[in-house]
Amino acid sequence: MQFWATVFLDGLTYASYLFIVSLGLTIIFGVMKILNVAHGSFYAWGAYTAAFAIGIISDNDLPEILFLPAILISAVLVGVVLGYIIERFILRKMYNQDIHLIVLATFGVFLIFEDLIIITFGVDPYLPYQPAMMLGWIDIVGLNRGVYQLSLILLATIVAFGCWYGLTKTKWGKLLQSVIYDREISEAMGINVTKVYVVTFIGGAILGALGGAYVAPTTSVSPGFAIDLVVLSFAVVVIGGMGSIPGALIGSLIVGLLRAFAVHQAPILELFVVFAVMAIVLIIRPEGLFAPPKARKI
């Protein structure tokens, strides 16, 4: 009982972390058909900005209750500023280009923003542990769990619910679904696709930055720490289906739970299981488990 409960909770925590980051990636792909390698930059900048903000609060003995707002504001700030800059000044000039060129362009952006991190924040690691320390730990089935890390599950649930509600119950969500289904028809029907693109890209960027900002208090924020996460997020999105929001959720759960089981039972297979599942999905259903339907054009 303790073993299975531990594996489940470990898997769920890791899946929550992956979901928040890969959701932004898949939304951007779903709407804009862009495989955004620069998503890792949002994650990294979110983490650094949050770490910086937490440092200011901590160094000035400001109330600890400000930690959470600081993390959320950092994510929004990074998402809006970087998302707008990249969409407005780079991607918008490339929408008619070959998809491979756009991927290369986002890769270039990723490298530039990695260097900008070093210029801005230096190479020393940031350890904004205060929020995680503040919340302490609780015992669940005989094992201590950091409350802060468990709160990732709550955050992911809120994000997932917010996305579901926003997409299915609001006018804006319906417009977005329309663009996902067919951009040209949507444009012909009078939807301002350019505006949808900007908002979508900024929204995706905020989610990427939120992942980084929220994880920052549990890790060493140092240059290059986003690279592995980007690779794993791609695996999640490929498994779930490029552009599918339920796919990102299910993909994250599959990766998180399988990885947790491997770490507990056969640690040597930890990464193997993740990429083996991805390979199997690619062979059996190349578009991913929950790829959204495509309009058939004649």
Partner: protein, 438 residues
Amino acid sequence: MKIKIFNKTTKVASASMLVASCLLAGTAFAKDTVKVGVVSFLTGPAAGVFGVPAKQGAQIVIDAINNGTMPAPYNKQGFAGAKMNPIFSDESGGGTKQVGLFRDFVEKQKVDAMIGYISSGNCMAIGPIADELKMLTVFSTCGTPRLYEEKLRSHVFRTQANAVGDSLAAARYITDMYPNEKNYTGINQNYAWGQDSYKFFELGMKQMSPDSKGSDKPQFPKLFVGQYGTEISALSLDKAKVVHSSFWDGDIEAFTLQAMVRGFFQKKIFVSSVGGSAVDALDKKFPDGIVMGTRGNVGLLARDDKSPLNVWFIKEYKKRFNALPLGPSYQYARSILAYKFAMDKAMAKAGSFPTQDQVIAAMKNIKFKSFTETISMARGGGHQAVHSVGYGLTKYNKKGKTPGAEKVKMYGPECIYPPAGTKSEDWINAGMPGAKCN
């Protein structure tokens, strides 16, 4: 007639050139500067608490030697009289990139020597190229024992002892201080350094505590993965109380943070062979009572050592960088000292500015004074250093407001390294014959 004169002139010129060539081959001209490539991580996750402190340690010693302000026995100005012109380079990007950069340093920049390298993977990639290009190379930090146990090197030296001693000293500390703990496991990075470190810790435990038992599920997460929640759960459920780790840089910091907020260190005896950087980064928040090594008598464990060179180094480092030197700062500075020692020795023997071959000959088997002890290049055919390795329990010094250690035990090279010419694994499996421990 004209032809005859021309022939005579040509003969004289040819003879002169021949004599000059012979002289050039035998001796180098005195130089004002020696150009040296110094390679460490300056970007990426390993830069902050490894690559940059390493560079800073090298800078302090290079400047002091260039200016003649280094304490004895390195108080003679210059490297064989020449000033060192260091070219600092970034180690990130992997072995293939580093091999390309190494070739560039040798063939285009015409350096006199190469010093540095932190990653074992990079050292294994650079070693054969250094021999092929006949470039004197002094490795400073990397630890894989394979570097010399697979093949002796002609142009490569390493002033840092290999990982075998770090792991065996950890096993000795555990058996000395916790003789009743018989179950152990580990969490190490999944590459040469991590796997070798745990392998030798396990081999050591089997010899030093024959009734001890290793877990069948030691953890080997990917390098720099950053999230260890699941691994911490798995280690917590494991009945082994002793947990060995050779995590370094961002990984040890992330792991410590995540384990700390779960009370992991209160339940386990955590043995970190190279986690000293995290102690300084987390300062007073770093938990007391962790078994901590620094790959030698350096960094955290050397703070109270009153050797004049060590006192000078700590003082200069604090003055210039407003921080205490970490393990890599010492390791890089030590390589510079070894290079100076060999250059001066070679010059004294040759009577003129030494050639590279003379420096290599002079560096073989040297015993040179380092910050806290004398280091012998006594393994790997005289190319590989051995030195003592210590472990202690972390203990924050509230009075001095600095991280420190207590119950420190130092294990000498004869205790934790095989005799010259013997492979580490064979020696340990044979019961470590001839080991002399205090």
